[in-house]
Amino acid sequence: MGLPFAQSVLGANQTTHPTAKAKAVIEIWMWGGPSHLDTFDPKPQAGADYTGPFNEVINTVADGMQLNSKLPLMAKQADKFSIIRSMTHGINGHETASYLMQTGRKPGDGQVYPCIGSVVSKFKGYDAGYKGLLPPYIVLTQPHGRFSEEGFLGPRYKPFSTGGDPSKDPFAVQGIIAQGITDARQQSRRDLLHSLDTLANAHPNSQAFKKLDEAEEDAYSMILGDAREVFNLADEPDAMRDAYGRNTFGQSCLMARRLVENGVRYVSINARGWDTHKMHFNSMNQKMPQMDQGLAMLFEDLAQRGLLDSTIVWCSGEFGRTPKVKWEEPWNGGRGHHGAVFSSMIGGGGFTGGHVVGASNATGMEVAERPVYPEDFIGSIYHNLGINPHSHLDNGRGEKVQLTIDSQGEGLLKELM
């Protein structure tokens, strides 16, 4: 268990000039909103109306942190991450809640804010001299779609979505790994393209064409260069691949580690399928073992490689799920949307592990102590990356807007810094 760097690091100046502890972020975005009761905030004492069949808790290696017993492997890594049990924004619609959790803003003031990944890409990507083999912001595997990632920052800060499936061999990364085309043919086609690019010759000074040529250079450096090797999971020992779980989520976690190892600044794993209105416990029984194994191994592996200190790993949905189980038709044991309180997990990159921040009440219906708002959570990630959460962005209309709003609550997660 890492000793907290304590408050001394976080003097008054730190809020305006934070020191970067983290270089990279891995986000596990649990699209749809996982139940807090069935994961990080179990309430066995609330009774079967609330717990359903998931009524057992498990002790973890961290004192004072218990998890739902469906997370046995995570329990062994609990010294490496902390849990916020008092996340809140009060919104129960997917789009608005996702937007809040990804941008820290409420929609409706006439502009669309960028999400965390795009902001990190702006501050830590090409504009900051990033020269990695791969794009600085990558989504595994499908684009999020529920929110505009880049918002007013524009398409330069859009993530690269890999497509394909890392649990298949080969992992067919869109545009980079193509089957059936040899390198020799790639090269010969490229030469042909250049000798037939007649309109380009007629426009030697076109800025647009120049940009297109630069984009082509970048693309070929990925197609024919070393970048594609990063995506080759067959390089990993079988035992390592097995340890992460031979499924899309597990192999995505492994891929995320390889990407961060290779300098990528922000990796988002788009983990779908948590919108369990009906037959909730059946889905959870299927999904949770994969989540448990992939996430636990990610922490263990990052720590063993000495990457955890410089890599923030966070995991959350846009909200939690209603604590009280709906047993009636048509839900048959389902849980609805719940934005009043839910749990998020964060570790690595200067965030201390083994802690629980805040609490929900006895039934997990509402915040009991230390409400944490999206701007506090996101602001803390920025802070540990050395990005001042109150610095300003150009909103594309010549106005400067603050990165995150001033906290509605108690501010950044200082207890974890």
């Binding site: 859009k158 980079i176 086609r189 007629a202 426009h203 970048d218």
Partner: protein
């Protein structure tokens, strides 16, 4: 289920093709074709003399160019013209057949006739509905919340008005004076398409849509004055899911004063809907705001550069580059009773529009003063439609919201999509507007490496090149008549014949990649006519598997190179 089976079929096909390909591919060498001098630009893209009579527009444009000593570009030739006009007016590339027929047509008025024909086509209606739906923010959900049914009825209404070529003043009037249910009175969705329902939110979209002006550049007082015209507009929900009634609720005060954006005043009695007074002020032919905005917007859409630029940011410190030209267009619109198609027709028939994209000067003002046609990348929707047409492939749409309208018939083209919430990975990647604000700048044409990766090397592109019906047909033809096959590729993909140099390069590429063995075999086959015919028939019958021989591969590579050329990706 259908999608699943289809995917499996595509995969199986891909595997089959890849195997054949791998065998043939060993024969491909990586030697670059010999460098050749750049083909003569004039021969490929230009006419030596104008085929179009000069117009009033040209007088105004060329007078301004003369003033600045700027030489205008050469006349574009028929091949450039047909591709340009098809893309600009219908969002669709011309087929090889259409190009051939147009090039062969000796009539001197063929350009004018083609303009008329395309302005009356279904594709015109579809494509311009798309553009107006961008401006009017037609989107189910977030941050604009028209909701799926509202979107469908609104889009259908807009499409109908474009099809009927409703007078533009009547179009504005219909939107601004609408009352009723968003399902039954589709025009009311105009008021629901802002990011909020407050009078200031409505003032913002009214100014942007009909005045080409952004209220965030206005003083607070001016915004409030405009907003007050919409302060009695109310919204209420009904029992039906997502139905919303938009209506006028009279103010309690007996009399109220209102101030128009030009400073003039009006006093209205209680019960009078102030929107009527505002609309009468707006569409009055003396009102510069209204005609200036639409004329400039249409000029921008056709020329790629506004007379006032950006076309939706009209304010005193952003003056017109050629005020006389804009004024002329405004007068023409009023004289033509707000017939927008008449305006299109006049612009499209001008020499100004029919100039080459290749400037004859590097003067920085040449683009702003229209000394050449402005190069622009194809819209995301236009590009994917062209690629799917070529590859005989379909787009996989999805929507972040659970709605039934994502199940779109396979032959539906992307330019006909109603809902900004329904999208595809391609559309997102290639800068389709998000319809969040209605700003023209939402449409993004800046190239990036992800787009390039997709076009150069994605599985989707490889499948298109391998399975395209055109490529299958030409691969077979290429064995006997390779030059004809290459010409057909050019006609279909670039809407022109190849130059001699290009033909030479393509033929050299083919020869280099065609092993001697294959040539001998073909000669042998010729002698065994019957066997060859039978084999050909078998190949034709194998609908999904093209012959994976070296000849086909050469044709695929040439097609791939043309698709990735700037000439394909840009309208020029």
């Amino acid at each position: 289920m259908k999608a699943g089976t289809q995917k499996v079929a595509t995969l199986a096909l891909t595997l089959m093709v890849s195997l054949g390909q791998l065998l043939a591919e060993e024969q491909i060498s990586s030697n670059a074709p010999a460098p050749s001098p750049a083909p003569s630009v004039d021969q490929i893209y230009h006419d030596s003399e104008w085929k179009t009579p000069p117009s009033q527009i040209d007088q105004l444009v060329f007078a301004e160019l003369n003033k600045h000593n700027i030489v205008s570009a050469q006349p574009c030739n028929d091949a450039v013209f047909i591709r340009r006009i098809y893309i600009d007016i219908t969002g669709t590339m011309p087929s090889g057949q259409q190009v051939k027929a147009f090039l062969q047509d000796p009539a001197s008025d063929k350009r004018a006739r083609l303009i008329d024909e395309l302005l009356d086509s279904e594709n015109f209606t579809d494509y311009w509905t798309l553009k107006w739906c961008d401006v009017l923010r037609v989107k189910s959900e977030f941050p604009i919340n028209l909701w799926p049914k509202g979107v469908q009825s609104y889009q259908r209404w807009i499409r109908q008005q474009i099809q009927n070529n409703l007078r533009y003043d009547e179009f504005a009037r219909a939107l601004l004076l609408a009352n009723g249910s968003n399902f039954r009175q589709a025009e009311v969705n105009f008021y629901r398409s802002g990011q909020g329902h407050s009078p200031a939110d409505i003032a913002e979209i009214v100014a942007l849509t009909f005045m080409g002006s952004r209220t965030d550049r206005w003083s607070e007082e001016n915004v409030n004055q405009l907003a007050s015209f919409f302060s009695q507009l109310k919204f209420k929900q009904t029992q039906e899911w997502k139905e919303e009634i938009v209506f006028h609720q009279p103010a309690p005060t007996p009399q109220q004063d209102y101030i128009f954006p030009d400073g003039s005043k009006i006093s209205l009695a209680a019960g009078e809907d102030p929107r009527i007074a505002f609309t009468n002020w707006l569409v009055n032919s003396d009102n510069q705001w209204f005609t200036q905005s639409i004329c400039n917007r249409i000029w921008y859409w056709l020329m790629g550069q506004g007379i006032i630029h950006p076309a939706d940011d009209i304010h005193p410190s952003n003056p017109a580059s050629n005020p006389a030209l804009l004024e002329y267009l405004q007068n023409q619109l009023v004289n033509a009773d707000y017939d927008l198609k008449a305006l299109y027709r006049e612009i499209l028939n001008s020499r100004t529009y029919q100039q080459s994209s290749i400037a004859r000067t590097d003067d920085a003002k040449s683009t702003a003063l229209f000394a050449h046609y402005a190069l622009r990348r194809l819209d995301a929707e236009v590009l994917i439609d062209a690629l799917n047409e070529f590859g005989n492939t379909v787009e996989n749409y999805w929507s972040p919201i659970p709605e039934p309208f994502t199940f779109i018939p396979k032959d539906n083209r992307t330019i006909t999509l109603a809902d900004g919430s329904i999208t595809s990975q391609f559309l997102d990647m290639f800068g389709r507007p998000s319809r969040d604000t209605g700003y023209l700048s939402e449409r993004e044409h800046t190239p990036n490496e992800f787009q390039r990766l997709y076009l150069l090397n994605s599985q989707q592109m490889h499948v298109r090149v391998r399975t395209s019906p055109l490529i299958r047909k030409l691969s077979q033809r290429a064995t006997a008549k390779p030059e004809q096959a290459i010409s057909e590729l050019y006609l279909n993909l670039l809407a022109r014949y190849p130059s001699e140099d290009e033909m030479q390069i393509a033929m050299a590429y083919r020869a280099k990649h065609l092993p001697a063995k294959t040539n001998n075999q073909q000669r042998a086959n010729k002698n065994k006519n019957q066997a060859a015919a039978a084999e050909k028939k078998r190949q034709n019958n194998r609908r999904t598997a093209p012959p994976a021989n070296a000849n086909a591969i050469a044709i695929q590579d040439i097609a791939w190179a043309l698709i990735n050329s700037k000439e394909f990706l840009y309208n020029h």
